[in-house]
Symmetry: C2
Subunit: 159 residues, 2 copies
């Protein structure tokens, strides 16, 4: 039997993406998480089907792998995704301690068919006052106190 290659994992992500063009469960995005040569999580975009705006392929795959490992850290894993992750999914990969990402289509391919991930990347680096989504701070002292109470808790689990 031939060796499983990186391309096989990436093509499994592409297969999941392509399946959405038939099912219309969501946009044409798929992802798999691989550790020690095995797929430990799979996901396709399910925004339309589940009415969940966070149900991007990579998020679904990360949650699937976390359930499989029963842990919020996927240390040692690679994320293969049919398209360059949007900022939400890229940040989620950091939180999940994923160690490497391989993608096929890029943010410009996505924008060409109406998914403006590139806009989001620009927004996140824009100064707060220049962003299209207004964001402001209020009651700063009360929020800081909540943090400090947590930091003082003897049984807290750092993560």
């Amino acid at each position: 039997m031939s060796q499983v290659t990186e391309h096989d994992f990436l093509r499994e992500a592409l297969r999941l993406a392509d399946a959405n063009t038939t099912s219309l469960a969501g946009g044409p995005f798929g992802a798999v998480i691989v550790r020690d040569g095995q797929i430990i999580g799979r996901g396709a975009n399910r925004v339309l089907e589940t009415k969940d705006p966070t149900a991007h392929a990579e998020m679904v795959a990360i949650r699937d792998a976390s359930r499989y490992l029963n842990h919020w850290e996927l240390t040692g894993s690679t994320l293969y995704t049919s398209c360059e992750p949007c900022p939400m999914c890229l940040a989620a990969a950091y939180w999940a301690r994923i160690e490497r990402i391989v993608f096929s289509a890029d943010r410009y391919d996505a924008a060409a068919v109406g998914f403006d991930d590139d806009f989001l990347y620009r927004e996140l680096v824009a100064p707060v006052e220049a962003r299209q989504l207004p964001i402001q701070q209020d009651l700063p002292g009360e929020g800081r106190q909540v943090m400090e109470r947590w930091a003082a808790h003897p049984d807290r689990v750092p993560y």
Copy 2:
């Protein structure tokens, strides 16, 4: 009865955050989504309890509101959160079409107690080759073709 104010909504987010210091379900973060003066979604960080690295307070609240409205768009909503959203949650707010964000503690308060959201903001703007999480493109033509097949689908739902 006195008028419900913005501070009441933000303090509900802070209450949810503070409750985690007792329950230890996750970090000290809470969020509510408000539309037309009503709370339509609530969330607290549940990363530790659910072993889901994406279960930040804002994500939980967005998913809760989406379930309530049975829609992936939360147009007209404001997100009140106990702490400045990390890039994952900020991007999720854009995808959910949230129109305004109010936060209490900021990313530096979070970093002071061990949640390095500021590091993530720096990573997302860093050139790809300078990032700590390596990311690379492969099979670009195959990914683009998946996108093109989807774009050509007559029944696709743009979102």
